[in-house]
């Protein structure tokens, strides 16, 4: 076989062009590195879970049960002091468990409470919930009529609305903190074992484990696809054509990934059958709880009950 003339021609030694501003990249190309970062963070949380800290020493089953009890307590508590104590206790527990406060804050404070605040913001106004004005935002010449609705002649934040929003926000923060502490201080594999022991169906736990495993595999494939496309993007793109091509590529990549995921699932199923899987999943039994963990379990449950009792006393 002889090389075609276009391949034989010596490459022109042209100088590289000067920088012309950032090239436009598709939504997919911009989002996948973020997903890869999430993957890296997850691997990092596995390292945190291996550190010799307070919560890491507890059996995952104890942590799961006590965590669940505290989630219920946070759900039942209504006094700001109780919820505030729960919110403050979480970072202290994180410190005692050698969890970097940055990793803890990134999971707890930066996302979920912010989204909750956006959701509850309308309920803090007198347009959604009538109450005593705490801060008047705007006054109008008279009541506003929006179709069948009649709104007051001013827009304000109400004391009652702010109090309810504050309670909900601290409750969400406390609940997310408890969940984050469990996730950060428990290896995923041990958490799965704990779920099995706590009577979550073994097959469901296995599916959870596999979903986690293959999500990463497909994410890596998607990241590689984007990188492969970028490495062959040799013509300059305008913002508009880049977006159009990006959407087209995203559609094609999603289709290719779906096909790959389908093929993968079929092969995984065959690999399981080949090794004797008959639909009845058998898992490795977890060892019995030691005395220290029983004490921690009782103490943890008593503390959670104490939180609820204390909240009732505070009124």
């Amino acid at each position: 076989m002889s090389l075609p003339s276009w391949l034989i021609a010596a490459p022109q030694a042209a100088p590289l062009p000067p920088p012309a501003g950032r090239a436009a990249h598709s939504f997919l190309a911009r989002s996948l590195p973020g997903a890869a970062e999430a993957l890296r963070r997850d691997l990092f949380s596995g390292q945190i879970a291996s550190r010799p800290g307070f919560l890491q020493r507890l059996d995952p089953r104890v942590k799961a049960l006590v965590g669940l009890a505290f989630l219920v307590a946070a759900g039942l508590a209504g006094h700001p002091l109780t919820l505030g104590v729960l919110c403050l206790a979480a970072p202290l527990l994180a410190l005692a468990s050698r969890v970097p406060l940055g990793a803890f804050a990134a999971r707890v404070y930066l996302t979920v409470p912010a989204f909750t605040a956006i959701l509850v913001a309308p309920a803090t106004t007198n347009w959604v919930r009538a109450g005593t004005d705490a801060l008047v935002i705007a006054r109008f010449s008279g009541p506003l009529h929006l179709g069948p609705l009649t709104l007051p002649d001013h827009l304000s934040l109400t004391t009652q609305g702010l109090a309810s929003a504050g309670t909900l926000l601290t409750r969400v923060t406390a609940s997310v903190s408890i969940a984050a502490l469990f996730i950060l201080t428990t290896r995923w594999t041990r958490a799965l074992g704990a779920f099995r022991q706590l009577r979550v169906p073994a097959l469901l736990v296995a599916v959870l484990g596999m979903a986690y495993r293959y999500l990463f595999l497909l994410l890596t494939t998607a990241t590689d696809m984007v990188a492969a496309r970028r490495s062959r993007t040799v013509a300059p793109t305008t913002r508009r054509s880049g977006r159009r091509e990006g959407r087209r590529f995203a559609g094609l990549a999603a289709g290719a990934l779906l096909t790959k995921a389908h093929r993968l699932s079929e092969d995984v199923s065959l690999a399981m059958i080949s090794r004797g899987f008959d639909g009845d999943f058998r898992a490795i039994p977890e060892p019995a709880l030691r005395a220290g963990n029983w004490i921690a379990l009782v103490a943890g449950l008593a503390l959670a009950a104490g939180v609820v009792g204390g909240d009732r006393l505070l009124g």
Partner: protein
């Protein structure tokens, strides 16, 4: 019931045809017998049907036409669902997939290797000992607590092999077993497969890489790109037949 071509065969296909999605031919009229204790190499270019034949021999793909026999019995999809035959067949025939990611699906290496024995009712100290021993055979003891995404491609391959070897199968089916292994792991695996063959195990492996085949295989079958078997015989005779290798797109 169709009479066996070879009474001594542990696994045997007769005029086997298989099409993916009922359209794309992967095996065409293939007849082959696997004899006990032999090391049989399936040679062929990519897409010639080697992997499909291994899956058929493991009872994972139902044939469109032709028959599969195992240990003297005709194997049908219904028989593989049988409460007695199915587990017994799985215990006696092990299959290592080409793509280790397919096979390493459990959260940790220990659980991965333990998956098969657990399905077969092995538990407790026996399970622990068996898993560590299987990993030791492949020099992978240090990986026991790792998660799959903490493994390199070669390490995943070794874990996949251990997860099948742990069942001590009588017949070991391997799809491209040397692919992705570094030279040391490759030498270790070749030595292990040779030891298994000497211990009386039957090994069937698919490969498009002729290097190492003559050392490992006692017999070989060459697949053509038309998904039929072009030739069977002594490995050294087949790999030195330039015309045959050219026809099979292996030269």
């Amino acid at each position: 019931m169709i009479a066996s071509l070879d009474d001594a065969a542990v696994l045997e296909v007769d005029r086997a045809t298989y099409r993916y999605a009922g359209r794309f031919c992967a095996l065409q009229d293939v007849s082959l017998a696997v004899r006990p204790g032999e090391s049989l190499a399936l040679l062929g270019a990519n897409g010639s049907g080697k992997s499909t034949l291994l899956k058929v021999l493991d009872g994972l793909l139902p044939l469109d036409s032709g028959t599969l026999r195992a240990f003297g019995r005709e194997v049908t999809p219904d028989l593989l669902e049988d409460a007695a035959f199915g587990p017994a067949f799985r215990r006696r025939v092990g299959f290592v997939f080409q793509d280790a990611d397919v096979q390493v699906f459990s959260p940790t290496v220990f659980e991965e290797v333990a998956f098969g024995p657990l399905q077969l009712g092995i538990a407790g100290a026996d399970l622990d000992e068996r898993v560590h021993s299987a990993l030791g055979l492949l020099g992978a003891e240090a990986l026991v607590d790792r998660t799959p995404y903490e493994l390199s491609g070669g390490e995943k391959k070794r874990v996949a092999l251990a997860s099948v070897l742990v069942l001590a199968p009588e017949v070991l089916l391997l799809d491209e077993p040397l692919e992705g292994l570094d030279p040391r792991a490759r030498r270790m695996l070749l030595r292990l497969l040779e030891d298994l063959r000497r211990a009386g195990r039957t090994v069937v492996f698919a490969s498009h890489d002729l290097a190492g085949v003559t050392d490992l295989a006692t017999r070989a079958a060459v697949f053509g790109e038309d998904h039929r078997i072009l030739a069977e015989g002594e490995p050294k005779d087949l790999v030195s037949d330039c015309a045959l290798l050219a026809r099979a797109n292996l030269e």
